[in-house]
């Protein structure tokens, strides 16, 4: 954003601040409180996991964080910008420039090739197509799919599709990478590969927030947010960089 609207901004390395955020769905006479007063602060470069039972509001929270949805109460500041006050075009711009999404079901566009799928985010930023193409090739290489550029998503395995999706999420060099059960549709070996890729991105300085069911997956994150019925149950700080220590031990 060229002109970020400033909220009551905390220190600059706080990327995300939720101020008693609510997301209520009104269904006739009943109100579903998918999120019910969530306070949260996420700093630049952190690696978070959101854990909770089905229906606890994990996806709802992640969609809010990714500016796909708006809170019905409270305030959400992203890099100092109060998201709730933006209009649809401004919010779309934030998604396009600051957010990278990774979905459980990959969500690649089936009729486009790998390369074309990678180019989609930059298309909406009016970025030089030649640059976009180069970046797409670079990122495809980074996730190990430089051989598959002209394949369509259905010609790839699930793990490969998710790699494409990760590369696509990186195209706009986002502030935050959001992953909603990114490994939920994959077998455990592929899951490990994808998680390793996320670890690598984290070590390169990306802020990552992922939703997961599995405790072992959550353990790789530095911080784990436990959600229950739309409320924060607890936030657990894992030991600083457990993965790194594992890696050292293996050596």
């Amino acid at each position: 954003m060229a002109d970020p609207k400033s909220g009551n901004t905390p220190s600059s390395d706080v990327l995300v601040r939720l101020d008693h955020v609510e997301r209520h769905y009104v269904m006739g006479h009943t109100v579903v409180r998918a999120l019910d007063g969530v306070d949260l602060e996420i700093k630049r470069g952190e690696y978070w996991a959101i854990v909770g039972r089905s229906g606890s509001g994990k996806s709802t929270l992640l969609n809010l964080l990714g500016c796909l949805d708006r809170p019905t109460g409270g305030h959400y500041y992203l890099g100092g910008t109060s998201v709730g006050e933006l209009n649809d075009d401004e919010i779309s711009e934030i998604r396009g420039q600051r957010i990278g999404f990774i979905f459980q079901s990959f969500n690649l566009i089936p009729q486009l090739t790998v390369l074309e799928n990678l180019e989609v985010p930059l298309f909406y930023q009016d970025i030089d197509p030649a640059y976009a193409r180069q970046r797409a090739v670079d990122l495809a290489t980074k996730v190990g799919l430089d051989e598959r550029l002209d394949h369509r998503p259905l010609e790839l395995s699930g793990g490969q599709q998710q790699r494409v999706a990760i590369a696509r999420a990186l195209m706009n060099d986002p502030l935050i990478l959001l992953a909603d059960e990114a490994t939920g549709n994959l077998d455990s070996r592929t899951e490990q590969e994808i998680l390793a890729l996320l670890d690598e991105l984290h070590s390169e300085g990306k802020t990552i927030i992922m939703v997961t069911h599995g405790q072992t997956v959550a353990d790789r994150a530095r911080r784990v947010l436990y959600l229950r019925d739309g409320k924060v149950e607890q936030i657990v700080k894992n030991r600083e960089s457990a993965i790194h220590e594992d890696a050292v031990l293996e050596q």
């Binding site: 796909l68 949805d69 998604r95 969500n107 909406y124 197509p129």
Partner: protein, 424 residues
């Protein structure tokens, strides 16, 4: 950058349409037929208008024709006495017209006689026109041989005549008529020339029959009294001139204005001069204008009917696009999640509709150029293709694309991203 991204949006649209070639083609077909129908109908209208105008133009759109007619009262009145019925246009009116009408080039009196003409054993019954040397310029004929009347012929009431080609052929099957004398109602006239039609149009064929003599000679030798015998009763009538042809000067719009103004003045003048309705005024230009208007209304009517096909085609396109939008809900959600604004989604789907309808429009134009020829060959109806019809029809088809594409595109853009992503 705007142009570049538009181009890419169009390319994306074409690509998406090519994923379902049959569906796209069938959707397009309606537009194709509609556009072809519009062009064809306009061409048929144009053809009809052209034919009507040609007919009237042959009468001379710079002419005003005054004709004597028998008033209705005289028609029903029993003719008891020998007193002749007097009516119609008169010699002095020619002078009045010449002197009072400003924009008039020539005023040509025509006295039409029913006399038989003979040369030796050959005899014909053709109209004999007593008129002036200017007759040729107002009658759509040209000189074939010899000379036409000159002013002196009338001044001295000379016994000269000019024959129509057809009449000349009948009277002189074996020799050149120029210089020979023929008998018109037992009076001798020398043939000085032969005239005939300027082209081979219908009215031209009529002009090939007849004999033209100086008007003063006609008056002197044959008088004004005409006696007609029919079914046992005798009819006496006195008519000085059967016709006065007035030719107006000017070019283009100026001419049209002059014709209209002069026609009005002549009408006024004749109402003053005549106490009975024994004349008619025929203004080919007014008929031409009326015919043009008529043809235009007809053409618009045909065009509108054919445009209905385009509207129906547009509804078909909208239907298909609505289905496409639903089918691609998830893609819309993905694109929105990746930063597409509502405007991007709108233009993506709108471009697809417009590409569809324009492709149909182009095919339709091709068909529409060919169709008039087919119509002409098959039905004999005249159809005239004018490039602006193609431009018009194509523009309508593109407009239909935009009009009927807006709603599906808008629907796509209004989708909630989260719900669109959850759609399966």
């Amino acid at each position: 950058m705007i142009r570049g991204s538009t181009l890419r949006t169009v390319r994306l649209g074409v690509k998406n349409l090519m994923l379902h070639p049959l569906r796209s083609f069938l959707t397009t077909l309606g537009i194709t037929i509609g556009v072809a129908a519009v062009i064809c109908m306009l061409a048929v209208g144009e053809g009809a208008s052209y034919e009507a105008q040609q007919k009237i133009k042959a009468l001379g759109s710079n002419n005003i024709l005054l004709r004597s007619v028998k008033p209705a009262e005289l028609e029903t009145q029993q003719q008891s006495s020998m007193a002749p019925q007097r009516y119609g246009l008169e010699y002095e009116e020619v002078e009045i017209l010449r002197e009072t009408m400003p924009a008039v080039r020539v005023v040509v009196p025509v006295r039409e006689l029913n006399k038989s003409a003979a040369y030796g054993e050959f005899q014909v019954n053709v109209p004999v026109y007593g008129t002036t040397e200017q007759w040729m310029s107002v009658s759509g004929v040209k000189l074939y041989e010899g000379r036409f009347l000159v002013e002196a012929d009338s001044r001295y009431s000379l016994n000269v005549c000019v024959l129509g080609t057809h009449t000349a052929g009948e009277l002189f099957p074996f020799e050149n008529p120029i210089g020979s004398d023929i008998l018109i109602a037992k009076k001798s006239f020398r043939v000085v020339g032969i005239y005939g039609p300027r082209d081979d149009s219908e009215s031209g064929a009529l002009a090939a029959d007849g004999i033209v003599i100086p008007i003063e000679s006609a008056r002197e030798y044959f008088g004004e009294l005409e006696i007609r015998t029919s079914a046992g009763s005798r009819e006496f009538k006195m008519v000085q001139l059967q016709e006065i042809k007035v030719q107006i000067e000017g070019e283009g719009n100026q001419l049209e204005d002059n014709v209209v103004a002069t026609a009005a003045s002549i009408r006024q003048l004749l109402t003053l001069l005549h106490d009975q309705p024994d004349y008619v005024i025929d203004v080919p230009l007014e008929k031409l204008q009326a015919a043009k208007e008529q043809a235009q209304i007809w053409q618009i009517f045909l065009g509108v009917i054919a445009s209905m096909a385009l509207v129906v085609a547009g509804i078909g396109i909208m239907n298909v696009m609505l289905a496409t939008v639903t089918e691609r809900t998830r893609e819309i959600g993905i694109r929105r999640a990746l930063g597409a604004k509502r405007g991007h989604i709108i233009s993506q789907f709108l471009v697809e509709t417009v590409v569809l309808s324009c492709a149909g429009g182009l095919l339709g134009v091709a068909l529409g150029i060919a169709a008039p020829m087919i119509v002409e060959a098959a039905s004999g109806m005249k159809a005239i293709f004018v490039p602006s019809f193609a431009v018009l029809a194509f523009t309508i088809s593109a407009g239909v694309g935009v009009l009927f594409g807006i709603y599906p595109a808008w629907r796509a853009a209004q989708m909630d991203p989260v719900e669109a992503l959850r759609h399966e």
